[in-house]
């Protein structure tokens, strides 16, 4: 049995079912990221686990013990929120100490544990400050310290880096896994930023319409998305999705895409003769300004994202495709439309059923 098991969890508000028969098993010490678009049920799920809401059905078992009938403070769970939720009239020290106080931990031990946790999160120099005197990053660290100080076996983090600036977000992205490993906590982390999900998660659970549609290692979610819907949630620019009908021809499989005909890799028999959605990520399309064997296209616009060039291509019959590459080539300083040739790395292509969007 896994350390934390959720089985058949459901929750409705009036007629609207927000969480539907949801199950997942999480190992001890695992960092599970729950990722989904806004309104998918992430926050409700976290509240059900924390005990701030009661499920209509289902069970939550932590370390062999069902916790659904326990009060939040008896579940051995620490939690930090997006908006920090610090007590404004208490110093950072008292905020961090609050979970220990409610459990009547001896004063000497409170001091030791608050200082240890604060040092770990590098806020030991501001412990006597009130929240209003703390910077954005220090508030966030104080809220995290409060969730960890009681050494809970499960830590729930509700989009904790949403409201912090880029510098702090990156610092915390690199620091958080190390801190949490030290506490040997089992972590459930909610975010709507796919990069954060991939960066932090041992596994990513993709929550859409109240149910997990895929629970897998970040590599698998990105390289083998279960549906077109999941495929579109990861990657910037989004994955290219084009309807195609591959056919058997000349001992292999071919398809028409973006005004040209391409030959698929040898193991593509499963898609021949089917109505498919062809998916290819922008980084798997190479663009050349010199004629190649690839598809002739118009390079319509270059919109850099960070240090990558994102190119919008248009095939002869109108299909739009995104391609991307690192900066540092002849493409860097182009402006306006240009004739170009696009080559797709079809070994990295994805095929989905055109009807239900499920991966083939």
């Amino acid at each position: 049995m896994a350390f934390l098991e959720i089985t058949g969890l459901s929750k409705s508000f009036k007629q609207h079912e927000v969480i539907r028969d949801l199950s997942v098993a999480i190992e001890k010490g695992e960092f599970l990221v729950i990722f989904g678009p806004s309104g998918c049920g992430k926050t409700v799920l976290l509240r059900l686990i924390a005990g701030m809401m009661q499920p209509d059905a289902g069970d939550i078992v932590i370390d062999g013990r069902s916790v659904v009938d326990l009060n939040p403070e008896n579940r051995d769970i620490g939690m930090a929120f997006q908006n920090y939720a610090l007590y404004p009239h208490m110093t950072a020290y008292e905020n961090i100490a609050s979970p220990l106080r409610s459990r009547h931990v001896p004063e000497a031990e409170v001091g030791t544990r608050v200082h240890d946790t604060a040092r770990m999160l590098r806020i030991d120099h501001v412990l006597d400050h009130l929240p209003k005197a703390l910077s954005q990053g220090q508030k966030q660290r104080t809220a995290l310290a409060r969730s960890l100080v009681g050494r809970p076996s499960v830590v729930l983090l509700d989009d904790p880096l949403r409201n912090v600036d880029a510098k702090i977000r990156y610092e915390m992205r690199f620091e958080l896994p190390r801190v949490l490993r030290r506490y040997e906590a089992t972590v459930i982390y909610v975010t709507q930023d796919y990069k954060e999900a991939m960066a932090l998660g041992d596994r990513v659970a993709v929550l859409v319409d109240g149910a997990f549609r895929q629970v897998a290692h970040p590599h698998e979610v990105y390289d083998a998305p279960g549906t077109t819907r999941i495929a579109r949630l990861f990657g910037d620019p989004p994955i290219n999705l084009v309807p195609v009908q591959p056919v058997t021809a000349a001992g292999g499989v071919e398809m028409n895409v973006a005004g040209g005909t391409v030959r698929l890799p040898a193991d593509s028999a499963a898609v021949a003769g089917r109505d498919c959605t062809f998916g290819i990520r922008s980084e798997d399309i190479w663009v050349s300004l010199e004629p190649t064997e690839g598809l002739p296209v118009t390079l319509e616009a270059i919109t850099p994202v960070n240090n990558r060039l994102v190119m919008l291509l248009r095939g002869d019959e109108g299909t739009e495709l995104f391609a991307s590459c690192p900066q540092g080539s002849a493409l860097d300083h182009l402006r306006g439309r240009h004739k170009a040739w696009a080559t797709m790395d079809l070994a990295r292509a994805h095929f989905f059923d055109h009807g239900d969007g499920v991966r083939i």
Binding site: Y170, T303, N306, D332
Partner: protein, 377 residues
């Protein structure tokens, strides 16, 4: 289409001591796309509103083409604007809202219909043309507001946070289509945004503002590679620029770690060495994507050794955090990088990627020069 020039433009609100906008000078070429970028309260929106004629100019002049427009009413400036708050006409259908500016210009109705259809297709709002604004979502209203501005024949186009309400997948597509449209029609455009991703994606040049002052007006490439000061260096770029305290000594820069010990050295060119006296405290900046990593590769004399703390695989690239003798560094690498936490990684920081800043003023030292002569050793 026209040029747009701001010469020493300032704004002081009645009763306020501070300048909301302080002597901003910017010359925007005919057909150029620029972005006004900064966090809230930096003066970017006030600047835009002065250009539109919605705020008076306290000092300085604004020229559209050859004409000074300081005292010209908004409707006479020949400027099209998409508002952050959309400002659509609720009793008019989406189609009529979009066509409104063209009707005023007395365009023939067949041409109006053709252009409305084409711009609606570009912005993915064809299905909404017969609806009324209150019945469509905020993101859709935002696109209608954009369409109403972009369809006009104006000298200058002002777009205030034009894509803030769109879902990320649609935003990527519309950014590219709008950029193509602006360039194809040679439209002089000012985009106001707090989102550097949007600014970098769309603009030929970006004006970074902070506290009413124009910090730097340059291409996205130059903002990355030659930031004018520490503010721009740390504001622009994702992940942010690595910044380390350092001391100049014996023709080299000694980079310090958190315990103020020397972590590694950067050799200085002779010009840089003469500019930086011995013992001068400085800040050293290196962009994450300029650091070269070799997984499992050879460690030579010209390499530092980093101990990997995390390796974040993001599909099309990796972001790696590592320690070099007590200095925390973030680097960007290709998607195939193999680097497990705790492992050792050969690291090369090319000298030409190192930027130097004055500790007190924050200004870049030798902004246009290559401060270092060779690889970091």
């Amino acid at each position: 289409m026209a040029t747009l020039k701001l010469n020493n433009v300032s704004k002081v609100y009645d009763g306020a001591g501070e300048r909301a906008v302080d002597a901003v000078t910017m010359h925007i070429d005919d057909g150029e796309i620029i972005a006004l970028l900064g966090s809230s309260g930096c003066g970017k929106t006030t600047t835009l509103r002065m250009v539109a004629g919605l705020e008076s100019v306290t000092d300085g002049e604004i020229r559209v083409g050859d004409r000074v427009v300081n005292n010209v009413t908004p409707s006479q400036r020949n400027i099209a604007m998409a508002f952050e708050t959309y400002a659509l006409y609720p009793p008019l259908r989406v189609r009529e809202n979009i066509a409104f500016g063209l009707l005023r210009d007395r365009a023939p109705s067949a041409e109006i219909e053709k252009r409305v259809k084409s711009i609606a297709a570009m912005l993915e709002i064809t299905d909404l043309l017969e609806r009324f604004p209150p019945s469509i979502s905020g993101g859709s209203q935002q696109r209608v507001s954009l369409a109403r501005a972009l369809i006009r024949n104006a000298a200058v186009y002002l777009l205030d946070e034009p894509m803030s309400q769109l879902e990320p997948q649609l935003r990527a597509l519309l950014r590219a289509r709008i950029k193509d449209y602006l360039i194809a029609h040679k439209m002089t455009t000012v985009v106001v945004t707090h989102d550097q991703t949007e600014a970098i994606a769309l603009a030929d040049r970006i004006a970074v503002m902070e506290k009413g002052v124009l910090q730097q007006f340059a291409t996205p490439h130059d903002l990355q590679e030659r930031p004018a000061n520490l503010f721009v260096a740390s504001f622009i770029g994702e992940p942010p620029m690595n910044l380390f305290p350092a001391v100049a000594k014996d023709g080299k820069i000694a980079v310090l770690n958190e315990r103020q010990e020397v972590a590694f050295h950067v050799p200085l060119g002779s010009e840089a060495a003469s500019r930086l006296g011995d013992g001068k405290r400085i800040m050293v900046g290196v962009r994450p994507h300029r650091i070269r990593l070799a997984s499992g590769g050879e460690v030579t004399g010209a390499t530092l050794v980093g101990e990997v703390s995390s390796n974040h695989w993001l599909g099309d690239h990796c972001q790696v955090g590592f320690q070099v003798r007590g200095c925390s560094v973030i680097a960007v690498a290709g998607r195939d990088l193999q680097a497990r936490p705790g492992s050792q990684l050969p690291v090369v920081i090319p000298g030409e990627a190192v930027r130097i800043f004055d500790v007190d003023s924050g200004a870049a030292i030798l902004q246009d020069a290559e401060p270092a002569v060779s690889l970091v050793v």
